[in-house]
């Protein structure tokens, strides 16, 4: 006879506020097979766990049901507690009477009744639980970092310094990400390249790091500790070993009028180019969409001038297969551009630019070599208006969140402008200044007090051009919301930070969930910010949500720590919630009839054929067999098998069948 312990948590008052926990405890006590039923204010606290452990020992319990929060929250906690008290952890189940009951229903009998139903369901399930031992799985101690921005670089370095091999995959010809495009960084105004390029070189020279630039993830199979990644190394049309990075080809290339992505469209670049001087690797790439050879089959000038004959026009994409144990997603973010705003001219005004374009104007390696000149006619702008919250905090445009970094970089832009154009007049239209980081508020004050940046509180309603000037129609809500117009020479929109293009496709390749804005979803917003729900895949940087460099670096190191922890064990312990094929005594040996239709149902090809032979070696039967290493426990085969010969531990036929009956009040006594 089962001896089940039921432990009902008040969760402070999160549960007891709407669920009569006493009544639930009484009802649980009356369920056949329940030997112990108590309620307590904080079940997950130490005293709470102590109660569970004492009850297990005193009452010799064969199963535990903790009625509290979601199993996704504290199942590990209580299973560890039961294991410590000598009860197999898989004989402990959580009944979710908080997220699925007390928080979502009004106080009343119906809610308490539902809580009792949920407890009864899980008690019925626990009776059918079996003691299970975790599966040991080998771990490939190689990490793959996708995205070579500051987050990807930091994560790679930390993992590599922890002694593990890292494969860094970067889509662009060079690592560096958006940070390499910046001129100076807040709150210290130190030059972005100066603090970034040493790290980039460190990555290139690190023995443990293999760098694949101009490459994308083609596919990822397998599971934590045992991923198999296929990386597409896009053809650079260049033999990287021979190329010395002398740059002669880029100088001589006749096709020079291509908008440079690195310069955010303000500068131009040739068809064969290195994105920026400090690029790592400092090897050019041929842009096949614009190169005359690929369009018309002529030219090949770069091939002629190349001292080391490194040009390879016929180079093909190459697929590299690697086994990795963990993946860190650090694919970064993108920003909206000025054409996203109908009321600011749909992008037709050349001098209405976005933040990254301003960074390029201010940067020494930029198209204007750092001189503050506006894109339309190259004049030095006398009056510049910076518009904060351009697209962010704007549900009408589908972006309701705050992009977090614009207040800071807008203040920085205004300061940089003032440092370069001393008599210039910078205005900033803002709604609220969000400068919450260390030294951030002081930085913005400095912009206002020392550099005389005029802050106007109000949002810009419209920007239009009038005889050579950009008229910015705003209002100052601190002066009675009086409408005002500023005739500006240039306008910088601090546009919304959004997910990278292609973020959704990459998430689907990795089976990682993402939110409505295509930012990757962390496992838990507060407690597991650098993990995803997919075991073995971690997050770092702005791909999870817009954030600044310090946070990205901190997250990168966090993710690296998680990877290092994963690789610290010789073997990976995996939950034994996998499928098993029924085996019985002879003469049946197994209820499986060997139709093997389940093989096509398994996404992980975890089902193999096993030949059962008699003592005389004669083949009696061929039945299915599950490879515990590959099976992920999705259960698709289990629900498909006609003879119910394959079952999954943790969600077995008996368990779910008992749950359904218990939930609908037809407990053990019936059928």
């Amino acid at each position: 006879m089962a001896r089940i312990g039921v432990f009902i948590c008040h969760c402070g008052e999160n549960i007891s506020a709407t669920v009569d926990v006493g009544k639930v405890a009484e009802a649980a006590a009356r369920i056949p097979g329940v030997a112990h039923s108590v309620d307590y204010k904080y079940m997950c606290s130490d005293p709470g766990q102590q109660m569970v452990q004492n009850a297990i020992r005193e009452k010799n319990l064969t199963g535990v049901v903790v009625a509290a929060c979601s199993p996704r929250m504290h199942e590990p906690t209580f299973r560890r507690a039961c294991a410590a008290a000598g009860l197999n952890p898989f004989l402990c189940e959580m009944a979710n009477i908080r997220e699925h009951c007390s928080w979502v229903h009004e106080k009343g009998d119906a809610t308490t009744e539902k809580a009792i139903d949920i407890v009864r369901t899980l008690v019925a399930k626990v009776k059918k639980n079996k003691a299970l031992q975790p599966i040991k799985v080998p771990v490939t101690k190689v990490a793959m970092v996708i995205g070579g921005g500051i987050a990807g670089i930091q994560a790679s370095l930390d993992i590599a310094n922890a002694g593990h091999r890292v494969i860094l995959v970067e889509r662009e010809p060079s690592i560096g990400g958006h940070m390499s495009q910046l001129s100076e960084t807040f709150p210290t105004l130190d030059c972005s390249q100066c603090i970034l390029t040493p790290r980039m070189v460190e990555v290139a020279q690190h023995a443990n790091i293999t760098l694949h630039t101009y490459s994308e993830l083609e596919s990822l199979e397998g599971f934590i500790g045992n991923f198999k990644a296929r990386i597409r190394k896009k053809a650079r049309s260049l033999d990287e070993k021979l190329c010395t990075g002398c740059g002669l080809c880029a100088q001589k290339c006749p096709t020079r009028r291509i908008a440079s992505e690195f310069d955010a469209g303000l500068g131009l670049r040739p068809a064969i180019y290195v994105p920026f001087p400090q690029a790592v690797p400092n090897k050019p790439v041929i842009d096949r969409e614009h190169c005359t050879y690929y369009l018309k089959g002529k030219c090949r000038l770069c091939e002629k001038v190349c001292p080391t004959q490194a040009i390879r026009f016929d180079q093909e994409d190459e697929i590299v297969e690697v086994d990795v144990g963990a993946v860190v997603l650090a694919t970064g973010f993108d920003i909206k551009h000025s054409d996203f705003f109908p009321e600011y001219g749909y992008g037709k005004h050349k001098d209405v630019i976005d933040g990254l374009q301003f960074e390029r104007l201010a940067s020494a390696s930029g198209p204007t070599l750092g001189e503050m000149r506006r894109p339309s006619d190259g004049k030095v702008p006398e009056t510049v208006v910076f518009v904060a919250c351009a697209g962010s905090r704007d549900p009408a445009k589908g972006i309701e969140y705050c992009s977090k970094i614009c207040c800071m970089y807008t203040a920085k832009h205004a300061m940089l402008y003032k440092h370069k154009v001393h008599h210039g007049k910078p205005y900033v239209f803002y709604m609220d200044i969000r400068a919450g980081g260390k030294m951030y508020e002081e930085f913005v004050r400095r912009a206002m007090e020392e550099d005389g940046v005029q802050y106007v509180r109000g949002r810009v309603s419209r920007i239009f051009e009038r005889n050579g000037k950009l008229v910015v129609k705003g209002a100052d809500t601190l002066l009675g919301a009086r409408p005002m117009e500023i005739e500006a020479d240039m306008v910088v929109l601090a546009t919304a930070g959004v997910a990278q293009a292609g973020a959704e496709e990459l998430a689907q390749k990795l089976h990682v969930s993402y939110d409505a804005h295509k930012f990757y979803a962390e496992a838990h917003p507060k407690l597991r910010p650098v993990e995803t729900n997919t075991a073995g895949i971690f997050l770092a940087g702005a791909c999870q949500a817009p954030k600044d460099i310090p946070e990205s670096v901190a997250q990168a190191s966090g993710a690296a720590a998680k990877v290092a922890a994963l690789f610290s064990q010789a073997e990976l312990v995996r939950e034994p919630l996998i499928a098993v094929v029924d085996r019985q005594a002879p003469p049946l040996y197994s209820s499986c009839v060997g139709c093997f239709l389940c093989q096509s149902a398994c996404p992980y090809q975890a089902i193999e054929k096993e030949e059962i032979r008699g003592r005389d070696g004669q083949l009696l039967k061929t039945v299915a067999k599950v490879n515990p290493g590959l099976c992920q426990g999705c259960g698709t085969c289990v629900a498909f098998c006609r003879t119910k010969s394959i079952d999954i531990q943790g969600f077995s036929h008996e368990q779910v069948h008992a749950e359904v009956l218990a939930l609908l009040n037809r407990g053990d006594r019936d059928a």
Binding site: P342, G345, Y346, R466
Partner: protein, 288 residues
């Protein structure tokens, strides 16, 4: 597809030339425009400013009459009436109880089956307009949409609420050169023409100032109220601005009529405050 015609009160009075030019063009295009039987005033700004139920009742009765007449769509050349009819149809179709109450109030069952069409939609839907052009209207023009043709976007969903292009495209079809100017959808002062003429002078003045600054030779409008403020209130505008504006303001139907070679008299050009003539110096086309 039966297209009805709702002229609206101003087309009979202060905007006669809009009606004359529209009917002349329609005749030339061989399109008959049967009026909505016994149509009443849509209430314009006055109704929705003073009384919410009246603001829905008056347009509802018009649309119900059009539906009874079997009209699939109703051409409403005046932007204000177009807005009132569109908003009413939108709100009554969204709220069944409201639809029933207002239908009861006007003693007619409003179903919303008749679509509301503005002048640009109607003109743009006519195939082969370019072919009808005999004397291309080769002028630099500032196309003025006003507020209610393109807003509120959720209700009228016609063209873009910021920097619309549909009238510009039409004018290009008849040989004009539409300018990219900044006051396409800024307000002209609408209903304050009589009660607050000073404000109209300010707002309409800004519009003319920008059009002239861009080198426009004419302002093209598609709404009698905009025409009233920009044309008839020209003295007030000029007095307030302290300078003269000679730029003529003509309806899109008049511009189309001219391009189709219809006589100026039939298009009511003689009824304008600001004479519709273009200085010979900068354009080859003969003086009108």
């Amino acid at each position: 597809m039966k297209t009805g015609f709702y002229p609206g009160c101003s087309m009979k009075g202060s905007a006669r030339e809009y009606s004359e030019s529209l009917l002349a063009v329609a005749a030339a295009l061989g399109r008959d425009l049967p009026e909505v039987p016994d149509w009443n005033c849509c209430g314009a700004t006055a109704a929705h400013n003073l009384d919410p139920d009246l603001a829905l009742a008056l347009p509802a009765r018009i649309l119900a009459a059009a539906e009874k007449e079997g009209m699939d769509e109703v051409l409403v050349p005046c932007a204000a009436c177009y807005s009132r009819l569109s908003v009413t149809r939108h709100e009554l179709l969204a709220d069944e109880a409201l639809r029933r109450r207002i239908s009861g109030l006007v003693e007619a069952d409003f179903r919303g089956s008749a679509r509301v069409l503005n002048i640009i939609e109607w003109l743009a839907a006519i195939p082969g307009l370019e072919g009808m052009v005999k004397a291309p209207f080769a002028r630099r023009v500032a196309c003025y949409y006003g507020c209610l043709l393109v807003r509120p976007a959720g209700v009228v969903n016609f063209d873009r609420p910021e920097e619309p292009q549909s009238m510009d495209l039409l004018m290009k079809k008849i040989g004009a050169e539409p300018l990219d100017w900044a006051f396409k959808t800024e307000c002209c002062g609408a209903g304050f023409s009589v009660s607050r003429t000073d404000l109209v002078a300010k707002l309409s003045g800004l519009i003319l100032e920008d059009a002239v600054a861009r080198g426009a030779e004419a302002v093209i409008v598609a709404c009698p109220m905009c025409h009233l403020n920009l044309d008839m209130r020209r003295p007030n505008i000029e007095r307030r601005a302290g300078k003269k504006y000679h730029i003529p303001v003509i309806y899109i139907t008049q511009a189309l009529g001219l391009a189709m070679g219809l006589p100026a008299k039939k298009l009511g050009l003689q009824r304008h405050k600001v004479a519709v003539k273009f200085p010979a110096a900068n354009s080859a086309a003969k003086d009108i």
